[in-house]
Symmetry: D3
Subunit: 236 residues, 6 copies
């Protein structure tokens, strides 16, 4: 993705993006049941690179599997492109881990933009201290082999009841993660930047005592002029 | 509510209140599945003002609805009386937001005592920084229109499996939120203040090495005198 | 348990222990749905001492029950041996408390190593400040009598879908809690210490830019020598 | 509702109606988690008359409440108009009953078209033998007072995650129940009758060996003529 | 239990018993989430004999365990007294079986009155054809060893969120199962028989067109006389 | 699959197969949460042919999609080989349909051995009358487009928490469905046939009054001879 788009998406909230997608008839793009391992105070932004797990069958998922250099989880960690977000379909099952601190450290070192699972991470307390955004359902210490078999890379998946296609733009803030279809990412980002400017203006007004009716959404004419003045003043 | 009652309820825990209500046969007054967006280190206290959501139907819940100055969610935010707690029945569904930071900021500015939903807030990270207690199930970025239609104000509702009647006294601490029927709020508050004094005495004793049997609850006579002395000493 | 074993288990993560147990065919030893009331940055370690709750029947669970010096919850708090971990079977139901701050304070004063419930604690915010590790599902203010009858001590129980036999070794870190069968605790601890040394070496390598394939797990010969040198250097 | 509409809706399936509503952007009209107490082999059809329950508070919900001739549950049973469907919002909680066989018998005698709850019925085995369609989540013997307080009549409610407005047209078959907004009931019924004719034609074709691609949906021209001939032959 | 009590309880519904217990402050005696494997059209009645499962640990639950003549599940099946109901605490987990058709056949042959689990039975279709009432959550083919370790007999347990003490009287009908504390079983049975007489009278009245208000519950005086006449006529 | 294997598997229960797999360390092969749309009184047997759904995105899942002759759901129905079982990964979400009666009729006509989803079928009452075994979670009338996008065919999937690889042998009876890894299907079938013979002998013994201890499992020597005689007599 281009850096201008990335920068725009770094400045808007998932809530604002959700509303911009809602306007376009996309009601179901926020990954449900997932939160930051630790709040980073900055957005995660990047195209999706996916890893799919299916339920583990005991004979196929012994520890020796990890010795296979083609093990999809390990290959995912080494091939997810820098700047991308690794999104894992763990079937919303956090009873065993999707990954641990060593793999997430490797993703960080490789410049990956973030990592998301609808299951849980092991070593979550450590992952929270790393300089890479990570989102999951809850900490989960059992090895992924217990319940999850890593199967394939960069296929369309479900994650937290949301469809994720490789290349979709993934944005996470301190609340939630959202998936923006690639084809509309630019227009959604632009609209969200505009909406954010108005929302920031609104917050200032509300803190100063203005009631919300007529202001949010804007139905009173006077706020048009005041917002224009504010933008000029704030250079936004 | 009178300020003396408010002050009493500011000094007792939800756990103590739950026990005082349990004594009166009310076993089900703690709102289940709800916690502070961010711990405030002080109690939320106020009479309930309610907002009821029903499931959203797509044709009735487009963004244009918010332009209606009579939209019940917006009216709730402008009419919930200062000192009251806005309690929302979101049918325990946090997959879409019950409200966001702009509305909660407005509630704060208007002097509302707190806000509770059995769903989730969008902009939760921001709401956590505001000087108003807020309780929810989890952060939820999608606009409320996605799943919730705001329907009516100040009707009896359910919230987290608890009946909430307008005017019931709502108290929240860093753990939970409880609903006290209005008619017994005074006597429950008085009893809770007394219980709290004894509990504080007990904690001091336990920290000093006293076993709990006989002390909590008090069945050994000697603690009656010691507690009386403690109260005098502590001026409680 | 002997102090050497305790010290070993203080230095390894639950995730590493889970893998060591997985190797032995034990796939289900991490207590599901439980987390620290507040992260302590150190491990909880001790043999299990158990308390079993069954559903409360109203006529058997009035407040007067606590006046009985033989009430099993109170007896548990006074008889759980120092250095042990009190593990409670609350049937994964956090709608009423398993215990509160007074009892947990007493456990702390008595030198108990920690406390675990698959329900919830009341006064959880206070319990989080105590110098004793505590794990639960979520804060829960209602008194245990509302839903739980304390029934018997030191029987085998289930906790978070894991079998817990009295004397099993319980280890908790900032993510999760695991139960190690007593008979294999020594060998599992030894193996986990070895694994931890290698994992620490791996993290250092990964932070320095080494890919994980061949390194974790170790399938490339060169890492054998490098690890040996690292151990000597690090005196581990 | 007029009898022609009722007769049309008696001949189409809930699945077909769901597709007709989906075409109009209404994706969420099938009441989730509800099934017939006993399959009747015919449709339930009628306008919604609603009853709302909130969680029961013990002091307000003793058996004596039923002696009140204004008790909303009893008033609902006596005032729901003949030909209407009584729909109850039980907050998806079947742990206590929404109603029992005596009340449902009374509804039957009064000519009510059916009864739906997103909770459960007591005396369900008996209700299954009555000549009135009834839909619920599961049998539930405890009296409604245990968990549900009947609050108000003919308000908009949620039932099984669907918005139900009084007067909406409710249709149930042996699988599910659907809610059709009143304003579009005629056009939806007409479209469903047309769709049903084609589906019946398709089933006949498929049973005779025709592949579905091109037939369902109809994209091969030849089926247009064959369907026309079939309609003439079948007089539909 | 004496045969007169057994006969009384054979003629009343679980719903009626639930109301009689509700009057006595016992709100939580119906086993939640359990239904007949197949409706028998007659009541199951008998004192509870209990079996407790805890989560299975793999090393303790291999098939060889069943060769142990002291295996608690097998001992339960051979020692549950005739006329009693075997009630199993399976922790509401139906992912593996609580028992199968061979053991239930043995219970039938031995004259046991019925069998209840809050998990599931394997061979459920066959169990449904046996002449012994059986209640569970759903069919479940995996052997109990997969998830459940049979631990002890005739201890107080939880089953479907209800406390079950050995000797409590268990009654099941085609809807649900209820647990009556032993000490009040006689009085509850007597009251339920009386209530049932009135309910039968009410049903007859309602079928004849009488409104329920004033009749159920009886607040109009005239029904007192009519009921008395009906009892005489019906010899009840 | 060869017909001899098919015939063997037609005569054994899923419970027996689950035990045979449990002996081989495969504890998790029964599809959880799935039951027959209607009991057929005979087994479903066939190799798995899979269809994977991901969550639906509104812009990709309008009714027009079905006009695409390559729509994977429709292609699945036309290409699943006769004698195979179509297994669908619907992410355990029955809120929208996985398929309806027209498609299942087509599968029946084409000689497909059965159909399984961990979601729900629309037109389930009709599907129950067809001469093809079908298994689901519950009836669900909304079109699959509402929540499910059919994505790909004959990939490894999860279904009801079980891994399903194309070609695995799927067996369903009136209780449950199980997945047997292809490589061990023969040996598992053979063992299950042997086990079934013994179980049938045991049932006969138990019905005649023999206690189970020593008989099931067989630890008393005398049953070896008696079973041998029984087999000869029964020609099994």
């Amino acid at each position: 993705m281009n850096e201008i788009l990335r920068e725009k998406l770094a400045t808007v909230s998932v809530a604002t993006l959700a509303t911009a997608l809602f306007k376009r008839g996309l009601r179901n793009q926020v990954i449900q049941g997932v939160h930051p391992v630790r709040a980073k105070g900055r957005n995660m932004v990047g195209p999706a690179f996916t890893l799919r797990y299916i339920p583990a069958r005991e004979d196929r998922n012994q520890l020796a599997e990890f010795r296979n250099p083609e093990h999809p989880q390990r290959v995912a960690v080494e091939t997810c492109p820098p700047g991308h977000v690794l999104v894992m379909d763990s079937r919303k099952d956090p009873r065993a881990a999707s990954a641990g601190d060593i793999l997430v450290t490797r993703l960080m070192v490789r410049g990956v933009a973030g990592v998301v699972t609808d299951g849980g991470f092991r070593d979550a307390a450590t992952i929270g201290t790393l300089d890479i955004p990570a989102y999951h359902s809850r900490p989960s210490s059992p090895t992924n082999l217990t319940l999850h078999e890593a199967l394939d890379l960069n296929m369309p998946i479900g994650c937290g009841d949301v469809a994720v296609f490789p290349g979709d733009i993934v944005v996470g803030d301190d609340d939630c993660v959202i998936v923006i279809p690639q084809a509309i990412a630019e227009e959604v980002a632009d609209e969200a930047v505009e909406m954010t400017a108005y929302e920031d203006f609104v917050v200032e007004q509300v803190k100063a005592g203005t009631p919300i009716i007529g202001l949010y959404p804007r139905t009173q004419e006077r706020f048009t002029a005041e917002f224009a003045a504010w933008r000029q003043r704030e250079k936004r």
